[in-house]
């Protein structure tokens, strides 16, 4: 997917201020977190960091379809599962290298999303949610019951280590860097998709798709594209999951997982990409912090989700403040007239 959707590289009127936050975030991801984790020196923490990054990507991908395009998607984990199974089966049974399985997972997932989207994309609101719920469950049932192909409930073990261009990357720190690079690149792509002219068109679908249709926006096609793009990123996340954990089983991709991803997007704030990232980090890391209290991971998800809907209906980082933050700090796509006044997304 990454070679298809390269962001346009027109020279932006990039000020120094526009670079501060991206560089800070990059330092945190690529220097501070690895340094801290190395000082702890436990493999388990690396695993948590990888899972957190994978869920950041999942939440960001759901953000495209549910947050920006406003289509309530209740089967996202199924596409994540398709990606994981594509990568897992290719790696374990065909011995494909990592560099092949990641794009393969994205392409297969996007293709399946395209097929299921063909009949269902004209549905709106709750009907769409129901249809995605049914599709998610159908994919889950296929993963669970097509034993000869997916190994059913036993799952798939992936023995082949991570290797890129002949360099062995199976040590925890190397795996973390690999995941971090792929997730960061995907997040940048999602950022450019959702904060652009194209993203505005998707937002118009959410606000009033009939009106957008009347204004000449091709609503059916845009919905389809948002759905497929989101599924492709979920597929990449699934492939990363398969390679970092080394074991996949259908129960990793059931309805509860879809709800977990949805909860991340809702808690962070519908329509806000930084919100989705924060929501994912919160819902993955909070249960780990509370691990000593008991097995409260899932109930925490429910409580955090309920409280955030009740007390913060806009989310932790609402769309409006997120958009203005992005304009100020990541504003290289924000077009200005010759007086330097902002006029819109490029």
């Amino acid at each position: 997917m990454s070679d298809l959707a390269n962001p346009p590289t027109a020279a932006p009127p990039s000020t120094l201020r526009n670079l501060v936050l991206p560089i800070l975030i990059a330092i945190v991801i690529f220097a501070v977190v690895p340094a801290v984790l190395t000082s702890f020196g436990r493999g388990y923490f690396w695993q948590i960091a990888n899972i957190a990054l994978i869920f950041v990507l999942l939440a960001a991908s759901l953000h495209v379809v549910t947050g920006v395009a406003g289509l309530l998607h209740l089967g996202h984990a199924a596409f994540y599962g398709v990606g994981a199974y594509t990568a897992g089966l290719l790696a374990s049974e065909q011995g494909m290298p990592f560099l092949v399985t990641i794009p393969a997972a994205a392409i297969v997932t996007a293709a399946i999303a395209f097929l299921v989207a063909l009949p269902t994309m004209r549905l709106v609101s709750i009907y769409f949610a129901v249809a995605t719920l049914a599709i998610g469950q159908m994919i889950y049932l296929v993963l669970l019951n097509w034993v000869s192909f997916t190994h059913g409930p036993n799952g798939v073990l992936i023995f082949s280590g991570l290797e890129v261009f002949g360099i062995d990357l199976s040590s925890p720190i190397a795996t973390y860097f690999l995941v971090a690079v792929i997730v960061s690149a995907s997040i940048v792509l999602i950022h450019r998709i959702s904060h652009s002219y194209y993203g505005n068109a998707l937002r118009s679908l959410r606000e009033d798709d009939q009106c957008a249709d009347a204004m000449g926006v091709r609503t059916a096609r845009l919905k389809m594209e948002a759905f497929v793009i989101s599924a492709a990123f979920a597929g990449i996340a699934g492939a990363l999951w398969a390679h970092t954990t080394g074991y996949i089983s259908p129960s990793d991709f059931d309805f509860a997982e879809s709800i977990l991803i949805l909860a991340m997007v809702v808690v962070g704030g519908l329509g806000s990409l930084p919100g989705a990232v924060i929501g994912a980090l919160l819902l993955i890391l909070l249960p780990e912090v509370l691990r000593d209290v008991g097995d409260v991971r899932n109930i925490m998800v429910g409580i955090v989700m309920f409280l955030s809907i009740l007390l913060l209906p806009k989310g932790l980082f609402g769309e409006v403040s997120a958009l203005s933050m992005i304009r100020r700090q990541f504003g290289d796509a924000w077009r200005r007239d010759e007086n330097g006044k902002g006029i819109g997304w490029r």
């Binding site: 009907y127 949610a129 249809a131 019951n145 709800i259 809702v266 429910g302 409580i303």
Partner: protein
């Protein structure tokens, strides 16, 4: 001459369909009144089953008392569900915001969140493994009807469900409560203008839906003899499918479609493995959404 085995499957399918119907009615009533989908309905089913199991192991009451207790618990669960997950989001009373999109999504997500909390709380209390129902409460004594063998549970489930459906019909068409429920689902603002207490009517709707769901939960629990925290999810989805097939706000439609679902599932198990049988319901749902977006029995709707 039909093979008796198929007749047997049809009887099982009919009682299965009746339990889906009980669940689907709860969904349909609540959708009619509030225009929202109550995702926590499956947990009412689980709560009914678990509360009755606790009663059975504690005092070993007669069967009728168990069912009555389940109804009471269901009413309580419906009431608390409305107060916790729906009331806080009904900040405004005009029709535009009562049926607005933001309101629908907020309550949909809050009911999802409450359902997670309820299920996980049950799991923390009882553990995630299956609980066995005491042997003497199982409703599976075989009855021989000529070549067909059915169990008492089929008859009991069918009887109780039919009784509750008739009771519901009486309640909706012959009582003041039913009249106000129908009025609110027709036009909440109009109902308020003619002096109906909309808030109380909404509570009554949840109470009735909760009773139906909890009764279905304990009947199925006693029929199969196992009760576990995640038991409500699959029937919840099936009932939801039945509601959508029936056209979202039509109660007879939901009941008929629930029975069709139950029958086709139990017939499907004879041809395909039971793991794939759930596919039937989802297939039905997708086909309905594509070809009959109004539902099989629904009133005309502007857009789907």
């Amino acid at each position: 001459m039909i093979d008796p085995y198929y007749l047997q499957q049809l009887v099982i399918g009919l009682s299965l369909g009746m339990t889906y119907a009980l669940m689907a009615i709860g969904f349909t009533l609540i959708f009619g009144v509030l225009n929202v989908v109550n995702f926590a309905h499956g947990e009412v089913y689980t709560i009914g089953a678990f509360a009755s199991l606790v009663l059975i192991t504690a005092v070993a009451p007669p069967f009728v008392a168990v069912v009555v207790f389940a109804l009471a618990i269901g009413a309580l669960a419906g009431f608390s569900l409305e107060r916790i997950a729906f009331k806080p989001f009904r900040r405004f009373t005009d029709e535009a915001s009562l049926k607005s999109r933001a309101m629908r999504e907020a309550t949909l997500l809050s009911s999802l969140a409450v359902s997670i909390i309820a299920r996980e709380a049950i799991e923390l209390l009882f553990g995630s493994q299956q609980q066995a129902v005491p042997f003497e409460y199982l409703i599976n004594q075989p009855i021989h009807l000529g070549p067909v063998i059915i169990v008492t549970g089929d008859l009991i489930i069918f009887g109780i469900s039919a009784l509750m459906l008739i009771g519901l019909q009486f309640l909706l068409t012959r009582t003041h409560v039913g009249l106000s429920i129908r009025a609110v689902s027709n036009n909440p603002l109009g109902a308020r203008y003619v002096g109906i207490n909309v808030d109380r009517t909404i509570i009554m709707t949840f109470v009735i839906g909760g009773m139906m769901g909890a009764a279905a939960g304990i009947l199925v629990g006693l029929y199969y003899g196992v009760i576990f925290p995640a038991m409500g999810f699959i029937p919840g989805v099936k009932a939801f499918v039945a509601m959508v097939m029936g056209g979202l706000s039509s109660i007879p439609g939901a009941v008929i479609c629930a029975i069709i679902l139950g029958l086709s599932e139990s017939v499907a198990v004879t041809f395909i493995s039971s793991g794939w049988a759930d596919m039937v319901a989802y297939g039905f749902l997708i086909v309905t959404l594509i070809f009959f977006p109004q539902g099989l029995f629904g009133a005309r709707r502007e857009r789907v």
